[in-house]
Amino acid sequence: MISCTEFIAAYSELFKFLEKKGGKKAVADFWNFLSDKYLSTSLKRLVKKNGIRGCWDYWQHALNEEAADFTMELDEQAGIFKIIMHYCPSKGRLLKWRHIKPYADYCRHCDVLYRRILEPLGYRYEPDLSQTNKARCSVIITRKNKMQSKKIGGKKHERKTGHCRRQAVIETK
């Protein structure tokens, strides 16, 4: 058995192995495969059922089990959900284990896995991966149709959305 506490190393090594065997395409295909199989019964089901609140439900469970250092915010009315990852337990472990070298594009798996689920459901997925070398990142998920309808209907909520985004960037840094 590979303990779930050591999974991250196995995951990173798998990406390296797949790239060596089949190039970056093999890695990307795996991420798509994983997204379809792994997240369709959890994140996808929750968002389909509860809208953007499904994101809160999903990550509330996952990030607590992963013992992440994070701030999570949900504004259902505005259709905005965001995660500010102050210290990612997965990337943090990979950086801490000095005897193994993390897969170079390790952090992109989150982008591929979650975007693939959320965008077809009508959400925009916008990660900031600029500080992953410090095990930090953030993501803002917004309901597309909500934003579009607000843009058409008036500028009030458009400003509100913009304010939240700026705030997230400030908090991330």
Partner: protein
């Protein structure tokens, strides 16, 4: 319409995300379908040699007691009862179920036919270039119940 904020420190929770077992299972299955059984075994050996390098060094230095301590800790973290018998030349690990297999099944996934290699291939690779060898004496694919044996190689 809810507006909620959650703030957590790493120290607020125990690091134990069992769904990672499902992700690993799917990883093995993807690699098996795309590159074949041997590729999966090669990957697991590569992982073992790389990630377990400190444990392998410890095994060379201190012998089977290093593995005993490692497995005792891992099974305790995963919440599985394990019976371990260790001597200078032999280490037996007996489990009634594999916590990973149990969780994967509970979540409704099929267990990869190569999931057994997370014990067989990984533990064999850990023993490479050490005075020890590994034998998977018994393994039940349904539950992951197993008897594992590490033993000192006979000098030729």
């Amino acid at each position: 319409m809810a507006k909620k904020i959650m703030v957590r420190k790493a120290s607020d929770n125990e690091y134990l995300h069992k769904d990672f077992h499902c992700a690993l299972n799917l990883g093995l299955e993807y690699a098996r379908r795309r590159f074949g059984d041997d590729a999966v075994r090669n990957y697991l050996c590569q992982y073992a040699r790389s990630f377990h390098a400190p444990l392998i060094r410890d095994l060379r230095r201190r012998g089977l007691i290093a593995l005993k301590e490692y497995f005792k800790n891992i099974y305790a973290i995963e919440g599985a009862a394990v019976r371990i018998n260790c001597s200078k030349d032999e280490l037996f690990i007996k489990t009634d179920f594999c916590p990973a297999v149990k969780h994967i099944r509970r979540r409704g996934f099929d267990v990869s036919p190569l999931f057994i290699e997370t014990e067989r291939a990984v533990h064999k690779a850990i023993c490479e270039d050490t005075p020890f060898a590994f034998e998977l004496v018994r393994y039940d694919k349904k539950t992951g119940r197993s008897i594992q044996r590490f033993y000192r190689r006979k000098k030729s």
